[in-house]
């Protein structure tokens, strides 16, 4: 419960953060809300030698209307997503899910960028951004690049971010539905939480819907192609069963 000794650097700009990442490489970890990283450090499963605290980069905390999408600063706290009027009007699913994360203390600390960059398949926000077909903006020594959410999550706790990059913004298309599924421009995106080593799109369900299947039939194939792990909370079979039930319910809610 006591982490290995580490250096702590609080930065006041993105450039300063990138500079430290460039200097320390793999040895450095970015600290935002800390709710995923610090427990790993206390268990000595993560042993960074330098923590680069980006928690006070207030410039990266915003929810803005950007025309066809909503732009969200990577350091926006869950609580700010939960209470954002813009999200409530344009991407209500994101506001709703942010409000389901942990408890109020967690939501006041945790950030959307931290949640996505951590890449935990059991977290809700990565799946929502995936279902929405979001785009992630990262800055590194070579400047800025955008990454589709679809290709961002590479493996268990692994993302497309390089060790020298900082996630700065999340762009989500405007959508109107609350639930684990999102509908946009007539197409339905469905993403699954904790059904594999990364958040997943329920592609069989999406294809069935696109082909005009009923909600019931489309939901019945929600677990197709997934390989969920088993643990004390649920076996793989039970997870696959739950996926069909919960996707059906989300689609019904989205349709009503």
């Amino acid at each position: 419960m006591i982490p290995v000794a580490f250096d702590y650097q609080r930065v006041s700009s993105v450039d300063e953060a990138l500079g430290l990442l460039a200097t320390h490489g793999d040895e450095a970890k970015l600290l935002a809300g800390g709710h995923s990283l610090l427990p790993l450090m206390k268990l000595r499963l993560a042993v960074p030698s330098v923590l680069v605290d980006v928690g006070r980069l207030h410039d990266l905390s915003y929810v803005r209307d950007a025309g066809d999408h909503v732009a969200i600063g990577a350091l926006t706290r869950h609580r700010d997503l939960e209470t954002s009027e813009l999200l409530a009007a344009q991407v209500p699913i994101l506001a709703h899910v942010a409000g389901q994360v942990g408890d109020p203390q967690v939501r006041h600390r945790g950030t959307i960028g931290g949640s996505l960059a951590h890449g935990d398949p059991a977290s809700d926000l990565p799946a929502v951004v995936l279902a929405l077909g979001g785009t992630l903006v990262a800055r590194g020594p070579g400047g800025e690049r955008t990454i589709e959410a679809r290709s961002f999550f590479e493996g268990f706790l692994q993302t497309a971010l390089g060790p020298d990059e900082l996630l700065t913004e999340i762009r989500v298309p405007k959508a109107t539905i609350v639930g684990a599924a999102a509908v946009r421009n007539g197409t339905t995106g469905v993403a699954l939480v904790n059904m594999g080593s990364t958040p997943l799109r329920a592609s069989a369900t999406e294809a069935a819907l696109a082909a005009g299947a009923s909600i019931g039939d489309a939901a019945a194939v929600a677990a197709e192609g997934t390989e969920p792990s088993g643990d004390l909370n649920a076996s793989p079979d039970f997870r696959r069963h739950l996926a069909t039930v919960l996707v059906r319910r989300a689609l019904e809610e989205a349709a009503s």
């Binding site: 419960m1 006591i2 290995v4 000794a5 427990p39 268990l43 000595r44 408890d103 004390l232 909370n233 649920a234 076996s235 039970f238 069963h241 739950l242 039930v245 919960l246």
Partner: protein
């Protein structure tokens, strides 16, 4: 008018709610270094070697110690009935027997240096076959303690009456698991120890029983009891797991002597999950028989108790299960047999209810199984079999004598408060409509035993020269509100307001004797003692006042409102408490009295809980919609404090039914060794409780009070479990083991279909 029976807010709370309590880890002890234990990561293994060289020279390290360094006598048995051939050593010697067993102790300047040094220690383990399940332990092909030659750590074998169910029209049999749970006090264990210049030992301990820690230390270090000073400052919960002295707690003083420094040790949460004792862990075979008119004719309970790697009090808990086996029912024939066995798991200790929740869970499940089999409403089956109010004192077939009760009234009150008939209608409607979310209604008509282990308790009351009073008590509260309740008891006798009454506990130099706080004993033993000591002080003061007023003591009255004594009819000439205390100051002890109260017997709180749950038949998720509790703990001194005890108990009991379990894999690795994996209950998982108090005073003590600390836990677990099964009974489900997780519920539905 008496203060007793009023909702008096807790005197101790302003501190806890503002500046916070002072726990052992908060204490500033000059020069204190830290202790870190390196614990076994293997469930069963021979220790080939322990490499401590690198750790010894690590920064800040003062000492690294293994079993070979310790020249103390083996630890004394915690209880005489335990098997002396299964002792836990101070530190593991040649074999480790559970993940979490201490192997090496490190003393370092800081906790962080200790954690770093621990990583430098290499223990070479040669794996031995692992015993996790109790049936395997009973079978005995692996023997954990070769000296003992058996894995059986304790047994109650009275023989099996093969004719028990003769004449029964219906017999139902079921194996149920009362799973292992972790007590999870919010404050983990913590100890600080310092050897004083005069050779005395001071130990600060987060404990429920400082005097037994004192006695254990005296025995371990060859000291007289008055050479050991144990202090328990604020204690953040114990739930039974902080009663005895664990080896790793008692060793701190030896380490302190070795390095010549005061030492402090606070376990981490992950450490606590494997090193603090666990609770429950009973595999039960229940058999119940009777006739189709709803009369229960016979009941048999056969228990296999997991005692963990080294038997402690948990090995003996089946004794309490036996004591309460037949619950609130008049059953003509009852059979009970139990065996406790050792396994490669954390030792089992007492946990809120300690053997009685297990008894209640078994009989309440049995009654529901019987009701389902004969197709009768479970409330009606209970109604027909409860011990009637005119049968008390009532002796069960196993020889337990219940003091007093009105079980039928508790049942009817609970049914009424829950709107039972309407709930059944709503249940029928949902079943008819085939709704996804089905309603379940679960009952538990419980009785339990409090102060079940005979003993006395010390109290002293003294009035000071400034007219305030101090109570010294041998009880050791850690959340129960004794500071308020004891002040109320003394205030009631003396007339001195509670704000002017100090309650002192948890310091063996100031309180010479004490037993402690566990088993719901404190009010009925320690509270009565305080009440009696206060009465003796009043008598003393009356004698003194009579002398000063030149009157017959029989004519002198205490004016509680004015807090003074005068001759009846002449209130103008009076002697205040302060004056009398000053007058008595020349006498030894001043104006004080002390007493040790030993009650003539145990008391038997009872009640009835109704749980209403909604079960999502597609996901298996159970939501507790309502928990209605009628509890009778005799005379209630402070309803606010009593309700606090009930509410906490209800939450913990419901948690066992739905959420909590300590799990191991087949190799004995704990799967729930932190609070991310152990599904500890929080306020979000329970509804607002609906509580109703019933007061049937016990004749056992002058206050008429029984214990209330564990009733909530004992009654609620089977109510919630029965409700889950009830929600699914129309689908053919008869039982769901605890915790009724979504997957278990889903599987039960699938299996019944």
């Amino acid at each position: 008018m008496s203060i007793l029976g009023n909702r008096v807010v807790r005197k101790e709370d302003p501190k806890f709610l503002t500046s916070g309590g002072t726990y052992v880890d908060d204490l500033k002890i000059d020069g204190a270094a830290r202790v870190t234990y390196v614990r076994s990561t293997s469930a069963h293994a021979r220790i080939r070697s322990v490499d401590i060289d690198e750790a010894r020279s690590a920064p800040g390290v003062l000492a690294v110690v293994t079993a070979a360094d310790i020249e103390l006598d083996p630890l004394p048995l915690e209880m005489p009935m335990l098997n002396e051939k299964m002792p836990q050593p101070w530190l593991a010697t040649d074999v480790v027997r559970y993940v979490g067993e201490p192997v090496v102790a490190i003393v370092s300047e800081t906790q962080a240096e200790g954690a770093d040094a621990a990583e430098l220690i290499f223990i070479d383990y040669e794996p031995l076959p692992v015993l996790v399940d109790t049936e395997g332990a009973l079978e005995g092909s692996i023997v954990l303690h070769p000296e003992a030659g058996t894995n059986v750590s304790f047994e109650l074998q009275f023989g099996r009456d093969e004719s028990l169910f003769d004449g029964c029209e219906v017999v139902v049999r079921r194996r149920v698991n009362n799973q292992r749970v972790a007590p999870c006090p919010l404050e983990v264990r913590a100890v600080a120890a310092r050897w004083e210049d005069d050779g005395r030992l001071t130990q600060w301990s987060s404990t429920q029983a400082p005097h037994s820690v004192r006695d254990a230390l005296a025995k371990a270090y060859g000291l007289f009891e008055d050479e050991v000073h144990v202090i328990s400052p604020d204690v953040g919960g114990g739930f039974g797991a902080k009663i005895g002295g664990y080896p790793d707690e008692l060793l701190i003083a030896w380490l302190a002597r070795r390095v010549g420094r005061p030492l402090k040790w606070t376990e981490t949460r992950s450490e606590s999950m494997v090193a603090l004792g666990h609770g429950r862990a009973q595999l039960q075979d229940i058999e119940i028989g009777g006739s189709r008119d709803g009369t229960i004719g016979a009941y048999r309970l056969t228990v296999l108790q997991d005692s963990g790697a080294y038997p402690r009090v948990g090995a003996l808990l089946s004794f309490m299960t036996r004591t309460m086996a037949s619950g609130t029912y008049r059953i003509p024939k009852v059979d009970f047999n139990s065996r406790s066995v050792v396994t490669n798991t954390t030792p089992v200790v007492s946990y809120r209810g300690a053997g009685r929740p297990e008894a209640t869970a078994a009989i309440e499940r049995a009654v529901d199984l019987f009701a389902a089999e004969i197709g009768m409403d479970p409330a009606e089956v209970r109604r027909r079999n409860l011990v009637p109010p005119d049968a008390f004192p009532f002796t069960t077939p196993l020889g337990t004598t219940y003091d007093v009760g009105d079980y039928g009234r508790a049942l009817e009150l609970a049914l009424e408060a829950s709107g039972y008939a309407d709930l059944r209608k709503e249940q029928a409607r949902r079943r008819e409509a085939g709704e996804v979310r089905q309603l379940g209604i679960g009952l538990s008509a419980y009785v339990e035993i409090t102060n079940g282990v005979p003993g006395s308790e010390f109290a002293a009351v003294e009035v000071r020269e400034n007219g305030t009073a101090v109570v010294r008590t041998g009880t050791s509260p850690h959340g129960q509100g004794h500071v308020t309740s004891w002040a109320m008891l003394v205030s009631d006798a003396l007339g001195i307001p509670i704000d002017s009454i100090e309650v002192v506990h948890g310091d063996t130099d100031v309180v010479p004797r004490g037993v402690g706080t566990f088993g719901s004993r404190s009010l009925q033993v320690g509270g009565v003692a305080a009440h009696q000591a206060a009465g003796q002080v009043v008598d003393k003061a009356r004698q003194l006042a009579a002398k000063l007023l030149e009157a017959d003591p029989a004519d002198v009255v205490l004016d509680k409102v004015g807090q003074r004594f005068h001759v009846a009819g002449t209130p103008a000439v009076a002697k205040s408490w302060g004056e009398l205390a000053r007058e008595a100051s020349s006498e030894p002890g001043g104006l004080s009295a002390e007493t040790d109260f030993t009650p003539p017997g145990a008391t038997f709180p009872f009640g009835c809980h109704v749980a209403v749950v909604e079960v999502d038949t597609e996901t298996g998720k159970v939501t507790i919609e309502r928990l209605v509790a009628v509890d009778d703990a005799g005379r209630i001194l402070n309803p606010l404090v009593a309700e606090g005890q009930i509410q906490g108990g209800l939450a913990q009991g419901a948690a066992q039914a739905l959420l909590e379990q300590v799990a191991y894999d087949d190799d004995g690795n704990p799967l729930t060794a932190n609070l991310a994996d152990y599904t500890f209950v929080s306020a979000a998982e329970v509804p607002s409780f609906e509580t109703t108090s019933m007061e049937t005073p016990t004749p056992v003590n002058e206050l008429g009070a029984k214990g209330i600390g564990e009733s909530g836990t004992i009654g609620s677990t089977p109510a919630v479990q029965n409700a889950v099964v009830d929600a699914l009974s129309h689908l053919g489900v008869r039982h769901v083991d605890m915790p009724a997780t979504p997957e278990r519920v889903w599987q039960a539905i699938a299996a019944a279909r």
